[in-house]
Symmetry: D2
Subunit: 244 residues, 4 copies
């Protein structure tokens, strides 16, 4: 991806975000905001963002990532990494995906701002450790996938466990994705605008290049990476973007 391609992608996305009144500050439009999930996904730029081909890439504008550590009792420090507040606007072009992954710590919610969002997920949580986690309102079992969802070439297997499907629209109730659940989403390939989604979640532990020099709220948080992508190549892509 060339610098020109990257800048056009980000500048158009930031303009769309501003038109939709998302609070974009200049610092939010940086070289970690456009995400290509692995080296093979840069091929998306051969035909460009509007080819409607299946690739894994997206833009994230993060307006808040607050650890919410201040004011905690001392005893709350141990599990504070499951808490905090993050607010992001995510922009995905037609046919493109945020690839399958889960977070051990982060619980998310989605609010569609423009377009429609196709969510694919595993209604059962990933087991982490021996003990079963707490359960209050488990994920619902969603619908079966519709026909004709084109996946990124070579990445098909990574979607195998995401058997549940839901389609979200502007004005719908917030949709909660509990921590430890595998999930992915895309913008429908025939959409006439990019999908724009606001994600309100607990803290995002993402040691991106852009964030690498920021102090950790608690010593135990240093270097924590809470994104576990199914496709190994996707993991590397989340943290650094290769711009020629």
């Amino acid at each position: 991806m060339t610098r020109r391609e990257y800048d056009e992608w980000l500048n158009e996305a930031a303009s769309l975000a501003r038109a939709l009144r998302y609070p974009i500050t200049p610092d939010m439009v940086n070289d970690s905001a456009g995400i290509v999930f692995g080296e093979d996904q840069y091929a998306a730029f051969e035909n460009g963002l509007w080819s409607r081909e299946a690739y894994e890439l997206m833009v994230i504008f993060e307006s808040l990532n607050e650890p919410a550590v201040d004011g905690l009792p001392t005893g709350g420090a141990q599990h504070a990494e499951y808490s905090g507040l993050c607010d992001k606007l995510m922009i995905v072009h037609p046919g493109k995906f945020c690839p399958p992954h889960f977070h051990q710590r982060k619980t998310e919610s989605y609010e569609v701002v423009l377009g429609e969002m196709e969510v694919f997920y595993d209604p059962e949580p990933v087991a982490v450790g021996d003990e079963p986690p707490l359960a209050f309102r488990p994920m619902p079992v969603g619908d079966a996938w519709p026909e004709g969802v084109a996946l990124a070439a070579g990445r098909e297997d990574s979607y195998a466990r995401l058997t549940s499907y839901v389609r979200l629209r502007a004005g719908d109730p917030k949709f909660v994705m509990h921590r430890k659940h595998l999930h992915a989403f895309r913008c429908p390939a025939d959409a006439d605008t990019p999908l724009v989604v606001r994600e309100v979640s607990t803290y995002s532990h993402e040691p991106t290049e852009h964030a690498h020099d920021k102090p950790a709220p608690l010593p135990s948080w240093a270097g924590v990476h809470d994104n576990a992508f199914v496709a190994p190549a996707a993991n590397t892509g989340r943290l650094t973007t290769a711009i020629r």
Copy 2:
């Protein structure tokens, strides 16, 4: 307040929220959404919402109040009440206030959607218990109050400790209000629209009439009320609205 006055207030506010694309579902427009902070504040309806007089009343549309208990390790239960995700749209008419209060558990952030927001707060946290709480990025000391801020009659004393002031506008960075800090806010009295603010916060422990029959995510959360208003009358107003 008559039923007609209440319904006009709520229906106009919900229309404004929808125009601003906030995801309003019918269930969110209920008899706990319009809040009058104490019996004496119903006098606001003698001259109506556009009198620009100082009273303490507001609308809150809550689109999300997710405890984020699912997926927690068992050990995380004890301090989970400091976590979770809440998303609200707050609508305040010119001259009106959200009165001074603090939350022991809830950390908040503000995003102005329409109009301008005058925030008044105490840069020092309220002491709760003997142990000092954790600190990472403390509240900044804000500006001094501007001239001419009219307070609700008889409630002036409740603002005494809120010596810091900040004015927020659409497009500004999110403003974080840490838990345990006294705060209040208003819509400027000379505004030409109500103030509309999105608040993203940790879980709201508010046993309102509307929420009274909902199950508690954890047994220890039952009946927790995390709003501590300075004026005793304001506390009662938060949970029930008297509609004739």
Copy 3:
């Protein structure tokens, strides 16, 4: 209608217009902007704007009424009153109507901004003078009326010739109402927001109280009133609003 009722109606409507980015200047929020179509329609305020009852009243915010006389060749003066540019935002509460009328000179177009618009019209033009007017793309014959459209009591007869119906939504192509066609419209009674419509039209010849001291672009335009309402009482209501 009391001053308080009027001001609340207008201030809420102007706030909605601003939220939808319509260019409202303070001069546009005046005592001719809220329109009650005849003395009997003030009864709408007994139960208020959200009663969903059928009455004829609406708000019009006019951002442009440009005669477009400047730059015309002299010979163009004679028919210039059929030309010009007007841009209005019209706000109609659930169940309320803009009543049946036609314009000899004014051609209109509608763009729904919020909610849905039910248009009732006569696909045949009213005859004015002996000569048939020019025709290029006549009005289409619309659908039959749906069931259950409640009309204002005592005004039912005025809708008799408006046999065509069309329902317009945000994003639809502009709908053109040619001059000399009887038309009316309403906001559906079960809507959750007021209907908000942008009308782009030729010049509005409306000698309202607010406009009474403005100079006429051409001498022949002085006092021209181009609104012909079917119900005689509606005509008077258009030009002056009785506020106690």
Copy 4:
């Protein structure tokens, strides 16, 4: 300009228009909507739309071009070409221009929807024929140009007579540009979004490729081209776009 470059330009612009609620139908996103004003201006695509360099190119989405001939008295036909209704959304990238031109017949008005609009114009009308045209509210003399407005290379002379300047922002009153006045406009080179302007005007006589097979409302209108650009090369660019 390649097909990919054109489609990305148009699709991003249409998405922005939709986010701003402009009523875009698929037919409006066509090969006449993106305009490059002359062969030399295709050089803009060497560094792309976000280079902030001065070139003359823009997007126009036209939602209405209504001749308003229906319902006219026969005598009105002669000057009807000065009338009618057109509604367009114009999208201009940072540093880019709509080049100097005038319309003999078309009167325009501007409403900034996003960003800021720098308008350059001649406060005196162009003489057409011997007779002075009608005058009611002549164009005001604007401000002097600010420092540092970069013009398209080789096109500087075409701006010589546009000595007046005004800067328009969202929420400003509509700005009227009378027919027969030379005018141009740009998006500031340092803007963070494209400029988005709604133009409400009388009928646009533009025999673009997209419109070439549409019937003329009146026989005398066939082939009328009402855009007179100062730079000869700009005239040709308005009507056809060269996409490889």
